[in-house]
Symmetry: C2
Subunit: 143 residues, 2 copies
DNA sequence: ATTAAATCAGACAAAAATATCTTATTATAT
DNA sequence: ATATAATAAGATATTTTTGTCTGATTTAAT
């Protein structure tokens, strides 16, 4: 299957957008995030833990604890989340998997795809989470 | 890991480009394709078989047999190969995996990413294999 | 005719991604 | 103090993807 983000990364982005779009509480537990986004609880829990290690998300243990954004949403870029979860290999390695593809000895589709990939990277790099919070809220209300 | 094409699809595209760029023989065996492209023989064999079923590649059994392009390279679009191997789901399903994402109830990044994905789709749809044969030949000579 | 070399089909194996379970630790509410 | 509910960490299980093996059939060269 062709795919752009791994499931982990999809879920991570969803969770980040979820956290950013709700400010009625300080902490959101993995349980409620999982319920609302229909993601396995233990899985999203693991993903959030790794985002905690990257400093994007914060957590509080114990009863009534949970997760929260550790940074201002206007300081979190989509690419940061992608990098934390999936890494940036997809933006640097050869799109066709030719082992020795480089700018010097490019694979046949190198330059064409390079453009597209650069666009994707730039888009992810320029767009911050806060730009999507309204839209996310609207979306969550529909679920 | 974020990724655009599956390994199968990468290998399939590589093999198609390989076939299109060489015309010194009529048939190329899975063995030599695998050797030159450094792909496991049985794996590329399976992939080529599925491309045969889609009518993109033809095959001849028996000694000195092998695979060949069943169509003129200027009639084979990159998207055809992708579709045959990975399907087109990546171009239609929600990029963030929101289960109920649609144009009516779009996910937060729907329209932004929609543009990019449409571009990718258009690029793959407009580009045919013959446009890359020279480049592929150059690439293969370097291996 | 026989042998060698190829595709084809299907079963099997290994690795990676996704998902679940279990236990420990922490913090709040009662 | 105790019970409850949360994160954290690590082991385990399942599923999907990737890769391998075996045998059948086909074709050409010898």
């Amino acid at each position: 299957m062709s795919v752009i983000f791994s499931k982990k990364c999809e879920y991570g982005l969803q969770a980040i957008l979820y956290l950013a779009s709700r400010n009625e509480k300080e902490y959101f537990s993995a349980r409620e995030i999982a319920r609302d986004l229909k993601i396995p609880k233990e899985f999203i829990s693991k993903i959030l833990q790794s985002l905690v290690n990257f400093g994007i998300v914060g957590s509080k243990k114990g009863k009534n604890g949970g997760f929260y954004l550790a940074k201002n949403p206007n300081k979190i870029r989509l690419i940061d989340v992608v990098e934390a979860i999936d890494g940036l290999d997809a933006f640097t390695t050869c799109i066709l998997g030719f082992p020795d593809c480089s700018s010097d000895v490019p694979c046949p589709v190198h330059s064409e795809w390079g453009k597209l990939r650069t666009m994707a990277f730039d888009m992810l790099s320029s767009e911050t989470i806060d730009q999507f919070t309204e839209k996310t809220l609207r979306k969550l209300n529909q679920l």
